[in-house]
């Protein structure tokens, strides 16, 4: 029997005031697709937006968003609630998009194993943070579209979705020091490209 998510057979009290965690709990206990639909409606635009931003193609973004939600539906019972549902969902989204890009281009800049030069300082650079966060939105968009997708993904995870270092480690399946190094390099690349692009422009 096909599962019809568009016209669920069972009607339930999936209310928009329900938290994500409550909806998941209800879905798992009742298998009522209304609860999944609630989560889908809440997040599909953001998931699609992230896919589109990273994959830069409407068709590929649609496919990716679909795959992400299928993965979510199949793995909902594995959601432990240790992090927010949105963080878990976006982790799956980034993971999937990074895989797609990796398959497309064998070498994805920042995502390859480059733990960093021995003794290089990998601590957070507040000055770079401030510079990046003070960038004008339109310039930010421009520069993010120029830098490699791997760098862009890392910066989006850190600044747009407020992922912790540990959460980024899980997505990239890398150690904490490797992730810190990737973030540092992504920031450096961003600032370098910004300066090159807007050199002499007020």
């Amino acid at each position: 029997m096909l599962v019809n998510l568009l016209n669920p057979m069972i009607t339930g009290a999936a209310s928009s005031s329900m938290t994500d965690e409550e909806a998941i709990e209800k879905y798992l206990s009742s298998q009522n697709v209304n609860y999944f639909n609630l989560l889908y409606k809440r997040y599909f635009r953001k998931v699609y937006g992230k896919c589109f931003s990273l994959l830069k193609s409407q068709a590929r973004a649609e496919d990716a968003a679909q795959e992400v939600f299928v993965k979510v539906l199949l793995n909902l019972s594995k959601f432990t609630g240790k992090s927010k549902f949105s963080t878990w969902l976006y982790s799956i989204t980034y993971n999937y998009c990074i895989d797609v890009i990796r398959k497309k281009k064998k070498d994805l800049g920042v995502l390859v194993d480059d733990i960093g030069r021995y003794g290089e300082n990998i601590e957070d650079d507040d000055k770079a943070d401030t510079e990046i966060l003070e960038t004008n939105v339109h310039r930010l968009k421009e520069v993010l579209n120029i830098i490699p997708a791997g760098d862009k993904a890392v910066l989006l995870m850190k600044y747009q979705d407020d992922f912790s270092i540990k959460e980024i480690c899980k997505v990239l399946t890398k150690s904490e020091s490797a992730v810190k190094m990737k973030i540092k390099r992504a920031k450096e690349k961003f600032l370098r490209v910004y300066k090159e692009t807007y050199a002499g422009v007020a």
Partner: protein, 65 residues
């Protein structure tokens, strides 16, 4: 408080997106349907396949018992 420029960019990009939520939901529905169908087929035939291998290996299958 000033809004984070990355979040502002996300909102800006989302405003410009035109996508039908039903289109993706239809795809999810079809994918899940196929997966369920495959799992039902496997569930139905897997014991028989095991019996076949057991029989080929020379042992008595469940049906023989």
């Amino acid at each position: 408080m000033k809004k984070n420029n990355f979040k502002e960019l996300e909102e800006l990009e989302l405003e410009g997106l035109s996508i039908s939520s039903d289109k993706i939901l239809n795809g999810i529905s079809a994918d899940i349907g196929i997966l369920r169908y495959i799992s039902e087929v496997v569930e139905l035939y897997f014991p028989k396949i095991i019996d076949l291998f057991v029989g080929l290996a020379g042992a008595n299958t469940q049906q023989d018992k």
